[in-house]
Amino acid sequence: MNFTLKIWRQKNRTDKGKLVTYAVSNIPPDASFLEVLDVLNGDLVRKGEEPVAFDHDCREGICGSCGIMIEGRAHGPNRKAATCELRMRSFPDGDTLTVEPWRARPFPVIKDLVVDRSAFDRIMQAGGYVSVKTGQAPDANAIPVPKHHAEEAMDAAACIGCGACVATCPNGSAMLFVAAKVSQLALLPQGHAERKERVERMLAQMDAEGFGSCSNTYACEAECPKQVSVQHIARLNREFVRATAL
């Protein structure tokens, strides 16, 4: 297969950046999108040009490193898949694909397609945990957890922190990301002691980072590679009311 790629190139944080057009050819349909970037980079290096920088690591859709806007869709056109899981058979041969980094004020571009998502870490540091020291834990079966709560908590915990929710949200909101953690820990008895402080602190950090607010377009859920549901945002909202209004 052959493709034309229009890729965002930006030297560093302060550079203005622009879309540059490249052609790649002889791509097998089973190749992943990132492997196409590998092929392109190999060509560029051989020509003495700087390869395209992009974040990636596990290449099996779990580490959350990769995240590219492909033809206006976070992680490309497929649902339930991160960029690394996207195979080229998902596109018609000869297609032109515009490839851009995540765009949000709290996600500044570092280089080309690499963005700084450390805002997510800071939100987690603000309260995305249960304050239990090593060694303090009671026996694992001491507190039963209803299966459906554990399952729902797992649905939320499946978040890989890739930032597709922010990237795709018309408001650049991180609500789905924050909700996934708040909801997970609100569903489990282990998280109950700190539920009020947690939701307040994580939301305060989210606002401080400059993310937009949720207007319930549900685009985040649609693009989330792990299908984290916006119901968790509903639960976050309830947790917020519990913490600040009740």
Partner: protein
């Protein structure tokens, strides 16, 4: 941080005010529609006039009116504020966007539908409320309505504005429940059903009036 401060200083709190004011305005729409339905009564507006008179003179209505204006104002001001903040969250836009693949148009253009409805409100309030209350209080309301809705241009404007209102409600109604955290699997269907009735029937009800007048008079 005290609870009210914590509530208001969070973007989620502001969203809740947005939802709260929105649902409050929805409740007003229902009352408004209920009274206006008397326009259809074949009594040359007698009962409609009675309600109008009650609204204009009953003392408890004043604070409600003020509350209503405050509601509109709050909804508008927070809406604009959130819109600005949300725009600022993405200073560089995408050169290609296929938002239609992952969200509904109605959810993405609330700012636009809201603005149109806002402009409509100014014209609407000026044409009826201000007219009847302050400029020609002696004139029967029914007369004003009949005069307005026999003007085909104005009727067309109303119909367009109501279409925008419907589109605004289409997303806004169920969205408010999500913001309150109530759009939960158990109630999801119910909220969606009531929401659909609401955004379809209320604007249709309102639209029926100008059409009726245009046709009957």
């Amino acid at each position: 941080m005290s609870k009210p401060v914590a509530f208001l200083s969070s973007s989620v709190g502001r969203k809740m005010l947005m939802a709260l004011s929105g649902l409050f305005l929805c409740s007003f729409l229902l009352v408004h529609l209920y009274i206006n339905l008397f326009l259809f009564k074949q009594d040359q507006g007698a009962e409609f006039e009675m309600y109008g008179h009650f609204m204009a003179t009953y003392p408890l209505i004043r604070p409600l009116e003020i509350g209503l204006f405050a509601g509109f104002l709050l909804h508008g001001v927070i809406g604009i504020w959130l819109w600005i903040m949300n725009r600022r969250a993405r200073p560089v836009r995408y050169s290609v966007s296929r938002a239609g693949d992952n969200s509904t148009l109605s959810s993405r253009i609330m700012w636009a539908t809201g603005t149109v409805v806002g402009i409509f409100l100014v014209i609407h309030v000026n044409g009826f409320f201000v007219q009847s209350r302050f400029i020609t209080p002696e004139r029967p309301m029914f007369e004003i309505v009949r005069e307005a809705f026999t003007n085909p241009w104005l009727v067309a404007f109303y119909l367009i504005a109501l279409a925008f209102l419907a589109y605004h409600l289409k997303h806004g109604f169920q969205s408010a429940f999500q913001t309150f955290g109530l759009r939960y699997s158990r109630y999801e269907r119910l909220i969606e059903f009531v929401g659909m009735l609401f955004w379809l029937l209320v604007p249709l009800g309102f639209a029926a009036m100008p059409l009726y007048f245009l046709w009957a008079y």
